[in-house]
């Protein structure tokens, strides 16, 4: 029991640290990527290739003056960014980061907890994350912040529906389980769910952009209309918390997409490769390779987020709402019906 608690605590701290580390280095990669697309050099002063830039940014965020507006609701003003960061960090616990480590005949799963409703847990936590933005935007007592907060929350609620419907279709294809681990293990042979659910994946990808408030759906922080959006009044690390949480959300949604649709730690011909390398099933090396493969996929998805941000212009607000309600929801319903019909004829569903 004690080793169990210690192991889980270590794993929690590692997931926490990795989320923060990836979020910090995503900011560096985002600047480098933007620079590449705009034919610039990007950060190059702090360390080789500007590799220490996130540390410099973090230090700057910490040492800036903290301003809490006089007319704001002080408690809620601090609660907003805290809640947003908290919910962003909470989703990482249900994701299986690799195959079980087997040391001395005992299995140590690389997943903090395998609850049987993992996917719905993630949806629930992200839906609570809206409160961070709403409370922060309202407590600032600024019209622009309020408008930004309302845009962000209505957008997140609207896109959650299409996202949920595309997940239901995936769950039907993946054999009727809501546990992350089981969905990943079903893709063991290297055939990813995206081959059965291409339309579902596309809908999920678009919704993930909207849920994380990233361009082209970053209307909540549209400078040309709203100054800074919901974080206009924030300064120092409270602003940093909002930005950090956005990058953590990006990391987690990349992990979810890479896991649910692209097999996570599985890859084609994995078993052939392992036997060619002479590795035993369940050895530490296999877990490590699996984790690295998963991490590589996550990094690719994070790059897609950035690629789209620096290529596509921002949507207009009515276009965003029309896309969510009149295109994505009917499309995901169609995808759901199609999946049910196909699975019925394949014989996986019986009435």
């Amino acid at each position: 029991m004690l080793t169990f608690v210690i192991y889980k605590s270590i794993l929690c701290v590692v997931v926490f640290g990795v989320s923060l580390g990836v979020a910090a280095y995503s900011t560096w990669w985002e600047r480098k990527f933007a620079a590449f697309l705009q034919d610039r050099k990007g950060p190059s002063r702090a360390g080789p290739f500007g590799i220490l830039q996130p540390l410099a940014d973090g230090g700057k965020m910490f040492f800036k003056e903290e301003i809490i507006p006089n007319v704001s609701n002080k408690f809620l003003f601090v609660l907003g960014p805290s809640l947003f960061l908290l919910t962003a960090l909470m989703t990482g616990v249900v994701i299986p980061w690799g195959k079980d480590l087997i040391i001395g005949g005992k299995a140590y799963p690389l997943q903090v907890t395998d609850i049987n409703i993992g996917i719905i847990y993630v949806l629930g936590v992200t839906s609570v994350g809206v409160y961070g933005i709403m409370i922060g935007g309202w407590a600032s007592n600024n019209k622009y912040s309020l408008l930004g907060a309302i845009r962000a929350s209505s957008q997140m609620i609207s896109y959650e529906i299409a996202m949920g419907l595309s997940i239901i279709a995936l769950v039907i294809t993946a054999g009727g389980t809501l546990s992350f681990r089981e969905i990943l293990e079903k893709q063991d042979a290297g055939i990813s769910n995206v081959m059965y659910q291409p339309l579902g994946f596309l809908i999920f990808l678009i919704c993930a952009f909207a849920e994380t408030n990233r361009a082209p759906f970053d209307l909540s922080e549209c400078e040309t209309e709203l100054i800074g959006g919901y974080n206009t009044e924030y300064s120092a690390f409270k602003l940093g918390a909002f930005m950090f949480a956005e990058y953590i959300n990006m990391f987690i949604s990349s992990a979810i997409m890479a896991g649910l649709y692209f097999g996570g730690y599985n890859f084609p011909f994995a078993h052939e490769l392992y036997s060619a390398m002479g590795l035993q099933e369940g050895s530490v090396a296999i877990s490590l390779i699996g984790f690295l493969v998963y991490f590589f996929k996550i990094c690719l998805f994070i790059s897609v987020f950035m690629w789209i941000r620096w290529t596509l212009p921002r949507f207009r607000y009515d276009q965003l709402m029309n896309l969510g309600w009149k295109v994505l929801i009917p499309l995901s319903l169609f995808n759901l019906v199609l999946t049910v019909v196909v699975e019925f004829f394949r014989g996986t569903i019986v009435f």
């Binding site: 809620l76 049987n116 409703i117 629930g124 809206v130 709403m134 309020l146 929350s153």
Partner: protein, 169 residues
């Protein structure tokens, strides 16, 4: 008397749920009211977890805290309710409201007192709230009432949109 961890958690969660529910009524600021109501929902979700019904707990949070209360908050934030603009109630209104509320409370307490006491075995291994069992119950044993309820909800939805529309083309 020795209490188990579950009983301690039950006690703490119940206390918090009742306290937050009272705060919903007593706090002056409508935004704080909504936030306390969200906290109440979280406490109730904790009760579901104690009953080993993770699916119900998470769906409760997704639907109530994540969607319905966000819309409440949304509307209240847009209305910008202040104490200056809010109409003051007269003493007569307060008196009548208190009387009706009291009568309703008496009816509720009376009903609960007459209800038969359910006995349940507290083993902690109840499987009724698991998503699989719940799905079978909803879509096999109670399919017809479930569909009727969803049609009712759809009707309400369409009706609300029709009433909310300014002019019907």
């Amino acid at each position: 008397m020795g209490y188990s961890i579950t009983q301690w958690l039950f006690g703490i969660l119940s206390f918090l749920a009742i306290m937050f529910a009272l705060m919903v009524v007593f706090t002056r600021n409508p935004i704080n009211s909504v936030l306390y109501l969200v906290m109440t929902f979280f406490c109730i979700a904790g009760h579901y977890l104690l009953l080993n019904a993770q699916f119900l707990a998470v769906v409760h949070i997704v639907v109530y805290a994540g969607a319905i209360m966000v819309l409440f908050l949304f509307v209240i934030m847009l209305m910008n309710l202040n104490q200056d603009t809010e109409p003051q109630k007269t003493l007569m209104t307060k008196l009548i409201a208190g009387l009706i509320g009291g009568v309703f409370l008496a009816v509720l307490v009376g009903t609960l007192k007459g209800a038969e006491q359910l006995s349940f075995s507290q083993t902690g291994a109840s499987q009724i709230g698991m998503v699989k069992n719940l799905g079978i119950v909803l879509f096999k044993d109670f399919l017809f009432p479930f569909e009727i309820a969803s049609v009712l909800l759809l009707g309400a939805l369409v009706g609300a949109i029709m009433l909310g529309k300014k002019e019907i083309k």
